[in-house]
Amino acid sequence: MHAITHPLPARQLKGDLAVWILILSELLVFGLFFLGYAVAARRHPALFEAGQATLDTGAATLNTLALLAASAVVVMAIERLERQRTREAGRLLALAALLGSLFLVNKALELHHHLALGITLSTSLFHMFYLGLVSFHFMHVLAGVIVLSWVARRCLRDTPPELNTVWSAGAYWHMVDLVWVVLFPLVYLL
């Protein structure tokens, strides 16, 4: 056995290969769900238009901004961490987790509103897609917030995880954001 030395690659995937495969897979799941939505909306235009009219676009817009802001803050945090400014990074990550939680609270209220009206997956095809997509995405934000909080805590205690791990966490969070950027206009606007 001889040691294999890799020259430092000029181009680099920031984060772990396994996590990136996960990200790609998740993108596929959401992508397929989106296209399914589009097909169903085309088949039942009146149903989907009526359904959309019952959604609160204002709250969803606010939520979009919260997610985008969280993403930007994660980027700032990682820049700090790369320069060993660990605690600063920790505070920024905590802020990102907070913004993510804001999204969660807002979305939970929205979902509660609909469920309280007696709406379920069976109410209509539109509601199946709406509840399905939104709650599936919700779970991803939740997972993202948990990961961000964990990284934030480690940073605040001055025991940050490896940079590669933080990159992976960041990439996952941006994926959640990217997916929402498509989901929002598709479900709430179009």
């Binding site: 772990d16 897979s25 799941v29 169903a40």
Partner: protein, 461 residues
């Protein structure tokens, strides 16, 4: 072998292989009954042989999983098994209960067996894969609880590794989901609905965790790659398994009377179920390419690679083939389903059990790997069984495509039995491939004999 108590795994592995042999014999009987309708009638009717074939499959896989757990949990936890005596006792209980059940199937008419075992007190019999009498099911629960207690105590008081935790999660999930075998609603829709919680959520949910952790364990051992790398892959694989597999249950809810939205949910999520299987393939080959040592047990490495490939083919590719609702509308319950069922069960679960046996057996005998001749024989059996399973799958797929076409898709469909006559050549070829499979299995068994006496006394480790 690091810990004495790992030795109980041997009993479990032996039972697994014995029952595997029985399963294959009944498979061949079934295959012949497909083309010679009254073969062995009335002694062994088709429905009975089928029950024996599938139940033996499940039971030997359970023996295999338990053996795997008894082997790898102490090694990972770095301590002796909590109670080896309990493991041995449970082994005999499970084996005797299993044997009695199979004898019951073969000797007593099914309805008589139901009466004999008091099925009317708590009716649970009569559903595919879950045909066991209620008392047998209760026995399974007792064995499962004892088993989980035993390995749970070992894991919790020892070193906690990701492999152990994932394995434990999978095994607990297996036991918990089995409880739905006791829920048997009169409403046929609900009956089927919850039946899939056992069947689908087993093979496309918690069993995948078991598969992933055993594969990861063997890869750690035979490649010497850093544990952290392997654990990370394991995390990602199980995340994807659960994300796609749970809602993916919907691919069984298309036509059974459940709400129509399942056609969407089931199609979308199950279409992505191949991803974790694909990841497993990438994972295994990636780790083997990065290996830091050349383990002398070449056969075990071959089995691990084979599992990674065949699980993806059987579950991923053949599953995907008929998982979208518009396709399944035509293929539902045809030979396509049987083709997929065979390759997926063999490729994922039969092969992972054979992988861990291949890796662990020599070590349990006190040697690192079997001698050259035995390994060559074992590799021959690998190729014979695997290639013939590929052919069984291809022949059944051919039969299924024709069946779907003639019986369902054309403008003037033919009756079921007319179509069966037309596709009989495929059934003959399947049976021929099945004979080759049996030959492969016999070579596999002979490879154990060819190992000769253990290289050193196993207790000296």
């Amino acid at each position: 072998m690091k810990y004495q108590s790992q030795k109980v795994a041997r009993l479990y592995f032996m039972a697994a292989i014995g029952l595997f042999t029985g399963q294959i014999l009944f498979g061949l009987i079934l295959g012949l009954q497909y083309v010679i309708g009254d073969f062995l009638f009335p002694a062994v009717p088709f429905n009975v042989a089928r029950m024996v074939h599938t139940n033996l499959l499940i039971v030997w896989l359970l023996f295999g999983f338990m053996g795997a757990a008894y082997y790898l949990v102490p090694e990972e936890a770095e301590r002796e098994l909590f109670s080896p005596k309990l493991a041995v006792a449970l082994f005999w209980i499970f084996l005797v209960a299993g044997a009695l059940t199979i004898l019951g199937y073969l000797l007593v008419p099914y309805s008589g067996l139901a009466r004999l075992t008091g099925n009317d007190l708590l009716p649970t019999m009569g559903r595919e894969f879950l045909e066991q009498p209620t008392i047998t099911k209760l026995g399974i629960v007792v064995v499962a609880l004892g088993f989980l207690y035993n390995i749970g105590m070992t894991i919790l008081s020892g070193r906690k590794t990701v492999i152990n935790m994932v394995l434990l999660t999978g095994l607990v999930g297996l036991a918990v989901l089995f409880l739905f075998a006791f829920y048997n609603p009169d409403n046929l829709v609900k009956d089927k609905y919850y039946w899939w919680w056992v069947v689908h959520l087993w093979v496309e949910g918690v069993w995948e965790l078991i598969l992933g952790s055993i594969l990861a364990f063997v890869l750690v051992k035979v490649t010497g790659v850093d544990r952290e790398v392997i654990e990370k892959w394991l995390y990602v694989i199980i995340a994807m398994t659960l994300i796609t597999g749970i809602i993916g249950t919907g691919h069984h809810y298309y036509w059974i009377g459940t709400p129509g939205y399942w056609q969407w949910l089931g199609s979308v999520f199950s279409a992505l179920e191949p991803i974790p299987f694909f990841m497993m393939t990438v994972f295994a080959f990636n780790m083997i390419n990065k290996r830091r040592l050349n383990h002398p047990n070449k056969a075990a490495v071959l089995w691990a690679e084979g599992t990674a490939v065949m699980a993806f083919l059987g579950a991923g590719v053949w599953g995907f083939m008929h998982t979208l609702a518009p396709v399944n509308y035509y293929t539902h319950g045809t030979q396509i389903t049987a083709a997929h069922g065979h390759m997926a069960f063999y490729g994922a679960y039969a092969m992972i059990v054979l992988t861990i046996i291949s890796y662990a057996w020599p070590i349990l005998r006190g040697e690192k790997a079997a001698n050259q001749r035995a390994q060559v024989l074992e590799m021959w059996s690998f190729w014979l069984m695997t290639v013939s399973m590929v052919f069984i799958t291809l022949f059944l797929t051919g039969a299924g495509v024709l069946q779907t076409w003639l019986q369902r898709y054309t403008d003037d469909p033919l009756p079921f039995m007319v179509v069966q006559e037309k596709i009989a050549p495929f059934y003959w070829m399947r049976e021929a491939a099945g004979v080759v499979f049996l030959i492969g299995l016999l070579v596999y068994l002979y490879a154990f004999v060819a190992r000769g006496k253990p290289a050193e006394d196993a207790t000296a480790a």
